[in-house]
Symmetry: C2
């Protein structure tokens, strides 16, 4: 049943909003019948005219009665509403989950896609698509996008449709948010930058630095004119697209020394964002030696953050860095959202 909804959503996205609107309309009418257009329009926060158009349709289909006192459901309308309720349940539930997470995290923009990326590749793909959509929406007029690496961001990049020449974003520039991390080339920021630029038909700059430089060579390299230029782009990025990682998993992936892992464990780091490790309270407990965008710059800076994370196992990490997610957009999936709510409920009762 939920399968069907997704397909309908795919094949007639616009029309589906009419469906849910009319469903809510029927629902509200049942709740308050008899009720008139004005009140309905207030309660549903929809313009009166739209209510009117819809009610006229529903009346002509014999689902509602319209008399002087207001509108009421007919028997058939009640039956239809019941059947619709079955159909819409997953959609409504997802919306409730979204609401719950929204009040908890207070994100500026929150998107929750169905499914759980942890054990469903399809869902992971959809997460990427949604994030790509959000990104493209914010791209208008912006000129610099900084992105991190990671398998999640990779999904986002792969979900960006190829744009045609001539470029619709002629002034766009994509840069990695930080120096390269990890050894899996496919999910390195540099690689993703190139891929994204290819899809967006725009320019890009890379940060070709070896991993885990010493403090000293890091400082000296930072003085290189070319590097400095990229740094300046990064610091002035208009959009920062990043994933939220699970601390331990990131350490493993980056092939760091055992000592680092010990540190992570000892300090109970759970989340990783932009090279910083966080404990459950959101305190930075460690920062990897790569270079690039710093968190506090993101916190107050003008760059618009777009955070993406999917899968129930990411819930703890998302909660840990919640205070950094209030600005900007957050794109998660149902699995993560539900676990977030469960964890929050649990910690409240403790």
């Amino acid at each position: 049943m939920t399968e069907l909804l997704k397909i309908l959503q795919k094949i007639m996205p616009k029309e589906m909003s009419a469906l849910s609107r009319r469903y809510t309309l029927l629902h509200t009418i049942r709740l308050f019948q008899p009720i008139g257009r004005r009140l309905l329009s207030q309660k549903m926060r929809i313009s009166e005219k739209v209510i009117r158009t819809d009610t006229e349709l529903l009346k002509s289909e014999g689902l509602i009665d319209i008399v002087f006192a207001g509108m009421t459901l007919t028997e058939e309308g009640a039956r239809v509403l019941d059947s619709l309720q079955e159909l819409m349940r997953p959609l409504e539930e997802l919306d409730k989950v979204r609401e719950g997470v929204q009040t908890l995290l207070e994100s500026q923009e929150l998107y929750v896609v169905p499914g759980d990326s942890q054990n469903n590749q399809e869902a992971f793909k959809e997460l990427g698509k949604e994030a790509a959509r959000v990104l493209l929406e914010h791209l208008q007029g912006k000129s610099t996008v900084a992105i991190t690496g990671g398998s999640t961001i990779r999904k986002v990049v792969e979900a960006i449709p190829f744009q045609k020449a001539p470029s619709p974003f002629p002034k766009l520039m994509v840069v990695p948010a930080r120096g390269s991390l990890g050894n899996n080339a496919k999910i390195q920021a540099n690689n993703l930058v190139a891929k994204m630029a290819e899809r967006l038909q725009c320019r890009y700059r890379l940060l070709n630095l070896p991993d885990n430089l010493s403090r000293k060579s890091l400082d000296s390299v930072s003085q290189e004119p070319e590097i400095k230029e990229v740094f300046s782009l990064i610091r002035n990025a208009d959009i920062v697209l990043f994933g939220i990682g699970i601390a331990e998993r990131m350490v493993e992936r980056r092939n760091l020394e055992p000592s680092v892992m010990e540190e992570i464990r000892e300090k109970r780091a759970v989340a990783e964002v932009l090279g910083h490790y966080f404990d459950g309270q959101g305190n930075i407990v460690s920062t990897s030696c790569s270079i690039g965008l710093r968190l506090h710059e993101l916190e107050q800076g003008g760059g618009y953050p777009i955070a993406v994370a999917g899968g129930a196992d990411k819930a703890e990490a998302i909660l840990a860095v919640r205070k950094y997610l209030r600005r900007g957009a957050l794109v998660i999936d149902e699995g993560a959202a539900k676990r977030i709510l469960a964890l929050a409920a649990g910690s409240k009762t403790l």
Copy 2:
């Protein structure tokens, strides 16, 4: 599943046509891929622009690929199409049934509604609704409607929505197509005429004649000025709405003498339309003594016929009078339609 379709059809009728169009589009693309817009537009008999709008939507959803050679389904598109096929099957099947009956009966207008009125009251109601819709569609500008009695026409009348004063059909006049028949007042033509006029907010005239008059008194009554006036209205009716009856059942219902029943049986009458009884070949074998519209008048006359019949058991009767159904609209249900096809196939092999 078929339930769901009906509900969607109810709550978003316009949008559903887009759904079936896009479904057919995907289907056709799969069949002929790679294929271009022009060819598609030819094959589907849809303007090229519509194809273009739809394909752009489908492409943006990633269901099809568009390359120089034409359009092809993506993997996801194929999956979506398969799932849609499940959903659309009942709809497609009904359409095929309709096509089959259409080629068989060659009706000017043929409507087939889902379900079987014989054993489903809901379906019977829907049949009435569809017929009412057809009637209202043809009402524009027309001034006289003649209707018969019968439970089917009763359903049609009851499905006509109440119109508001001032009457949208000020010049409309409803008359019974024939004198009263049968003893069940609720389904007598006179009664239905009054009900219909009430709903349409229009004038009406009745034919208050006793049943089964002798030839002689019939002739004399026919000379009455008032009766003559109604006759003239009937003869010049712009629309004739009538049901198709099963001969034996009609005889029973009309409480006719046993001799009549014997005659019906002897001459193998199967159908009854407008007071005439027909055998399986469509020959008139008997005519009841009531008065009013004659069949041959309908056959060549200017009045637009709207015939309504539902239920598998009506199939034989419908087939018997098929030659009278080519002009005008025919509204039947799935049950009748399927039986019609089965009977036709059977008689062909004999």
